[in-house]
């Protein structure tokens, strides 16, 4: 009973934390939005509007109100799901973003599969062979991935693998030729093309996805490798590893059945956080590969100073991060018996 009470208390305190963080996020995006040099009124009414029209729109937008009132208004809008209209596209911002999101999710999901698929085995190998040549090579390999400017690696990879070798597709999500051939049902091109039974489109999409996803994955594998290595080292030094050996398990079995088994939960939380950071790489890689996703939408609007769009994008990234943090925390609590 006391346990249930404690649990309730921790849940409610966590809820407060999240609410405060969300509020802070909104303040931050609001401030960024107000600081932007572009004149939102001018952007709406155009360059040659009369003074009266200008004043009217200025008033309509509430820009003549005190700043805190403007914030409350923004808060109210956000809470009712109104994120404003994009000046560039003339569409509600949220609609734009939702349309761009699947492309980014498709890219990020493939990237994280590659990143975890690379990073976890490498991290285990490095830990098992601590301070031997394998460890050193893996360390340099993963630091290399962490150090490369991904926008540059993207270009070099395009030159080499697309322009010279022709192994992969170039920029965009598919060949120009195929655009518009499949109906958008989910927005995920791989799924949509399969649903439509268009295998050519599907393979074209895979061909275009593989290069940016590999690069993003490689860069995120650095973090995953490092964390896996340090988690494994913690476990390998534990006495229960000796117990397992005494029972007659081989070294490989103790490593995979006991040590690795014990870090699985931690790894899931790490991969969840790495998934969030992929958004960062996505902004740059999408620009290089002309990938019509969230990152490109954000940068395009940044450059022209589309306030509503930028504010909402920043807000969304923040929310995604908070959700991923929360999720990894939750996973940890659910699957680690010690936290019960």
């Amino acid at each position: 009973m006391q346990n249930a009470q404690l649990r309730l208390k921790s849940v409610s305190s966590q809820a407060t934390t999240i609410l405060i963080t969300l509020l802070g996020l909104l303040v931050l995006t609001f401030v960024i939005g107000r600081m932007m040099p572009a004149d939102p009124v001018r952007a709406i009414v155009g360059e040659d509007a009369t003074r009266e029209t200008y004043e009217m729109v200025y008033h309509q937008l509430g820009l003549d109100r005190p700043i805190w009132e403007q914030f409350l208004r923004y808060l109210g809008d956000v809470l009712t799901g109104d994120f404003g209209t994009s000046i560039r596209t003339g569409q509600p911002v949220m609609q734009d973003i939702l349309r761009a999101m699947p492309a980014t999710i498709e890219l990020a999901t493939f990237a994280i599969l590659i990143g975890a698929g690379l990073g976890i085995p490498l991290g285990v190998t490095a830990a098992v062979n601590k301070d031997k040549w394998q460890d050193h090579i893996i360390r340099v390999f993963s630091l290399f991935g962490h150090s490369m400017p991904i926008f540059w690696t993207g270009m070099i990879a395009l030159i080499v693998f697309y322009a010279h070798l022709g192994w992969v597709g170039g920029s965009g999500r598919m060949e120009q030729f195929y655009i518009g051939m499949v109906d958008e049902r989910t927005g995920f091109l791989l799924i949509d093309s399969l649903l439509a039974g268009e295998m050519d489109v599907f393979w074209s999409a895979v061909n275009h996805l593989i290069l940016p996803a590999s690069l993003l994955g490689y860069s995120s594998s650095a973090y995953i490798t490092r964390m896996t290595r340090s988690f494994m080292l913690d476990q390998l030094g534990q006495e229960y590893m000796t117990t397992a050996r005494v029972k007659g398990l081989s070294r490989g079995q103790t490593i995979w059945l006991h040590a690795f088994g014990n870090i699985r939960v931690q790894l899931v939380t790490i991969v969840a956080l790495a998934y969030g950071s992929l958004l960062e790489g996505a902004v740059l890689i999408e620009t290089v590969f002309a990938w019509p996703g969230f990152g490109q939408y954000l940068t395009n609007n940044l450059i022209i100073g589309d306030m509503n769009a930028v504010m909402t994008c920043v807000l969304i990234v923040g929310v995604i991060f908070i959700v991923l943090n929360l999720l990894s925390d939750l996973l940890y609590r659910t699957f680690d018996p010690r936290t019960k």
């Binding site: 995006t29 926008f151 540059w152 960062e280 954000l298 930028v310 991060f321």
Partner: protein, 299 residues
């Protein structure tokens, strides 16, 4: 924890022992080939930046429209760009911009992080909660995206890029300084200072901050790779240093149009960024080992 041990004697006999610690760390770093590589590259970067006018073969801004997009060779080590400027010289001068960014970000981020962190850690209570909440909000963004948003708000320029990076880089420092301050808060000599009637302000500035300094400096080094990459990324997106400045990221952005035929336009600036950020990462990795007592004691 790790830093505390090595720096306890520092409090007692100021300079000599701290120099000794520095020398020990340097010896340790030079013993591992990877961190030695990091140190040497960064040393080289500083030398190149300091003697840029002597090392550069051309004026980085001098256009030579008769010699545009020339491949490496013929007096142009790394070739020329679309306006006939010598890429090698631009890279050499660009190292000054990189060092400026690193320097300015450090002197902004270090103190802000220190003050927020030590104050929160030392004072504790409500102030601590509020300050850490704010820190967490900043931490809940990937740094590049937040810097992007700030630059968009401030307007694209090198200075604003530096401000934006600094604004996003302080929270991890603050977290670290807070953790350190919390361990020192309970130390006897702090209690002694308080009993003597020293004000909180004085204790924070005179006793706590010097103790947190070493670990903060290391953390700053570790962050520099990210700073370099973020700055280059901003330059690439056209939100950082503006042309014709020879900033490496911006050079890649302009070179992008010609990359298929003139690979050298993007290749060399990219290699420069990669080398410097790799050097910082390797150095940071070595520093982490150097300051981990478990590692130090091992043969």
């Amino acid at each position: 924890m790790t830093v505390k041990d090595t720096d306890m004697p520092r409090q007692a006999s100021q300079l000599p022992s701290s120099l000794l610690v520095l020398r020990n760390i340097l010896t340790f770093l030079m013993r591992s080939p990877t961190s030695a590589f990091g140190l040497i590259v960064l040393g080289l970067l500083i030398v190149i930046a300091a003697f840029a006018p002597l090392i550069a073969t051309h004026d980085p801004y001098a256009q030579d429209l008769a010699n545009t997009l020339k491949a490496p060779g013929n007096g142009h080590y790394f070739g020329t760009d679309e306006l006939g400027r010598d890429i090698f010289s631009r890279l050499v001068w660009g190292s000054r911009i990189s060092l400026t960014i690193i320097f300015l970000v450090s002197i902004v981020v270090g103190p802000i992080g220190m003050i927020v962190g030590t104050t929160a850690g030392y004072m504790g209570g409500r102030l601590d909660t509020i300050m850490m909440r704010i820190t967490d909000i900043f931490l809940s963004f990937p740094s590049l995206i937040l810097s992007l948003a700030f630059v968009a708000a401030l307007g694209p320029s090198l200075n604003n890029a530096i401000i934006a990076i600094a604004l996003t880089a302080w929270p991890p420092i603050a977290r670290l300084a807070r953790a350190e301050a919390m361990t020192f808060r309970k130390a006897d000599y702090i209690a002694a200072a308080r009993l003597q009637g020293a004000s909180d302000m004085r204790i924070i500035f005179k006793s706590i901050m010097p103790m947190c300094l070493p670990s903060v400096l290391i953390r700053l080094t570790l962050n520099m790779a990210t700073v370099i990459l973020t700055a280059a990324g901003l330059g690439f997106l056209g939100l950082g240093a503006q042309p014709p400045m020879p900033e490496w990221g911006a050079m890649i952005a302009t070179g992008r149009r010609y990359m298929i035929d003139s690979w050298w336009l993007v290749t060399f600036p990219g290699l420069a960024i990669l080398t410097v950020s790799l050097a910082f990462n390797l150095l940071g990795d070595g520093l982490r080992d150097a300051l981990d007592p478990k590692q130090m004691n091992r043969r």
